[in-house]
Symmetry: C2
DNA sequence: CGGAGCACCAAAACCGATTTTGTTGACTTA
DNA sequence: TAAGTCAACAAAATCGGTTTTGGTGCTCCG
């Protein structure tokens, strides 16, 4: 009965009922100038024949695709960003309700991203884009703005005006992080930051500095390190900061991935996160709950963010002004167990570390 | 210069050159009955005007979308499956080279999945599907087979004939896992399995049993537990097995998520994975490397699998027979540090456990 | 009673490509 | 030299919808 390619078309329905195909279309699109009787007959035929309009044909005429695009950055083989997969999940859920679809593409470089944008726009495969992991000067946003193509950014740029965005108040979160750590009794607080092209990394560093300033703690540049946003970066960052003469007793990390690496490094050199060193991450990744110790972090519900961003984009497509759609949300501190009062003074920590590192100098992250 | 909606069409190009639009199309599609001179002029105009054909219009005529679909199952708020995000990454990378796109949808129930399939097929938004996490009797596969719609499954079903699939030899892997654990000196080996609707869960259990049989170890049904595939399930599974009078000294887990939960439970009751209890997972999740202890697991490179599956699907769309596309791959044991020789006999372990549990009965997985 | 107004729907145009069919002039070939 | 062949393109049909334009018959109204 259900031959594949010979899908039932609007002509089949029209013929079956004995009306013009335009009439069928009008019924399906809720026009009012159709008699009740005809409407019923058509609706019945639609149901009987199992007719569903072809998205392609409809889109051709309407000039819309009912599809949103997202381009996710990927490194070289180092796996997907766990934050992004949650984010996509959130988007997809929201779109399901709105009856839209999501086109996912990956890009391995900045240039490749722009290429992909161009391609998808030129071929008219999507109506709008969701841009993630914004950079301070983001070429994607510049491109989309110039082309005047609808999009919503998750995260801001250096100049966050003129386009729609959804972001977390990164400054506030990290200022709070500093305050929290300080209240636990820490005086030397380190920052394992992310590369500064990433806007959120810059903002979190700003929040870190502001937090210190608010507390009247002198800012020591040595306590800041910048690393690529990955577990590996976290290892390197922790190693660098803990090797200081006056090491920090707490590490505030720009992302959970960095924090996971930092915790791993601590473990490696015989330090217990949460007891000997406080480590705090950011992202609220589910897996953080199952680490040892469970990771204290900031949650920003990637899923919720995805849903929110998707809805903002559909608002834009419905004609809303992008500038009216700028939303700043708050991140919540989720206390688990990787933070605590400092066990040692920085000086004591330093001598203890020197002892330990003599015995077992750190060498990569392989098992022994 | 670049007005958005007024994208340049094939008519613009034709007019610009002074030929019929059909001629432009023929040039772009490499027909031979065009003079070299005309071809050059048209190509130049295409470049000058920056013309790119509308995917929609092309698809309408051709009946193809150059888009593949994937429907990912999601639970209720418990986050994305990390395995799937890697998998999608692999697919997207492969499709990038093939100049195809990927449409991602989520579904929260079995019915919803079929609905989504129906919708995407009826509206002709995709040319084929990739089906993941196959079940023993998978309604999606049944549906797609019945509709005769192109698809490739990642994983098999009870009757894996008549369609294209890519799978890991789950039996072999788990038999090897048992062999490995046994060679470390363990005699009582537990299985934390996944729900048996999932085909891979069933196969891995089969491999576990076969492995024991090969070694001449008597199969004790008490040593098997079935849990939902999540960290939570891992906690429950470990709790159940370790509470036995004769508890296992090693836990073979159907997925990394289960293993992560199992490790967490061990930690909670004062047991160290890798030393006191051996825990082995399956999936090769990157995060496993940063756990304490780093997780011993089976790798099946989700990324590679994604790429492979995508290419198989395009082969089918190019006319290859699905039945000729069935590929069984091998999983590799990645030894990290969650496995090791048993520290205690099962009996000794049991008494030690009874001691510990008296003091601090386990109660959920919240921080203290 | 003639024309305006309306309800209802048929017919045709259109979206932007691909593909089929037709046409023209030059060149063979018998 | 008339008929046939072929290269090279124009013109039209087509894909499956949406939207615009055009009737038709009926009612209403001055």
């Amino acid at each position: 009965m259900s031959r594949l390619r010979g899908s039932v078309t609007i002509d089949d329905v029209a013929r079956h009922v004995g009306v013009a195909k335009g009439t069928v279309s009008r019924v399906l699109n809720n026009y009012t100038d159709i008699s009740d009787e005809t409407r019923k007959r058509i609706l019945k035929a639609v149901k009987d024949l199992g007719y569903q309009p072809s998205a392609t044909a409809r889109n051709l005429k309407r000039g819309r695709q009912d599809t949103l695009g997202i381009i996710i950055p990927v490194g070289h083989g180092n796996g997907a960003d766990p934050f992004l997969s949650e984010f996509i999940d959130g988007i997809a859920r929201a779109l399901d309700e709105l009856d839209l679809d999501l086109l996912v593409t990956t890009a391995h470089s900045r240039e490749h991203m722009i290429e992909s944008l161009e391609r998808l726009i030129a071929r008219r495969k999507v109506d709008g884009f969701i841009v993630t992991r914004t950079e301070v000067n983001d070429p994607r946003i510049a491109y989309l703005q110039e082309r005047n193509f609808p999009f919503v950014a998750h995260g801001r740029t250096a100049n966050p005006s003129g386009y729609a965005w959804y972001d977390i108040d990164n400054e506030a979160a990290f200022a709070e992080g500093v305050r929290h750590i300080y209240s636990l009794g820490h005086e030397r607080i380190g920052l394992v930051g992310g590369t500064l092209e990433l806007n959120f990394a810059r903002q979190r560093r700003e929040g870190y500095r502001q937090g210190l300033k608010d507390l009247g703690v002198k800012h020591d540049p040595d306590l800041e390190t910048i690393q690529t946003v990955s577990e590996k970066g976290g290892i390197l960052g922790a190693e660098e900061l803990l090797a200081l003469d006056q090491p920090p007793t707490a590490l505030l990390c720009a992302t959970d991935a960095l924090a996971i690496g930092a915790v791993q490094y601590c473990r490696k050199i015989g330090l217990k996160a949460g007891a000997d060193v406080t480590v705090i991450g950011y992202d609220g990744l589910p897996v953080g709950e199952y680490l040892d110790p469970p990771l204290t972090t900031f949650s920003q519900s990637a899923q919720e963010a995805g849903g929110r961003v998707a809805r903002m984009l559909t608002d834009i497509l419905d004609g809303k002004s992008p500038t009216s759609l700028q939303e700043l949300s708050k991140a919540d501190l989720i206390r688990r167990a990787s933070d605590g009062a400092p066990a040692k003074t920085p000086a004591a920590l330093a001598t203890a570390l020197r002892e330990r590192l003599k015995d077992q100098p750190y060498s990569g992250n392989k098992g022994e």
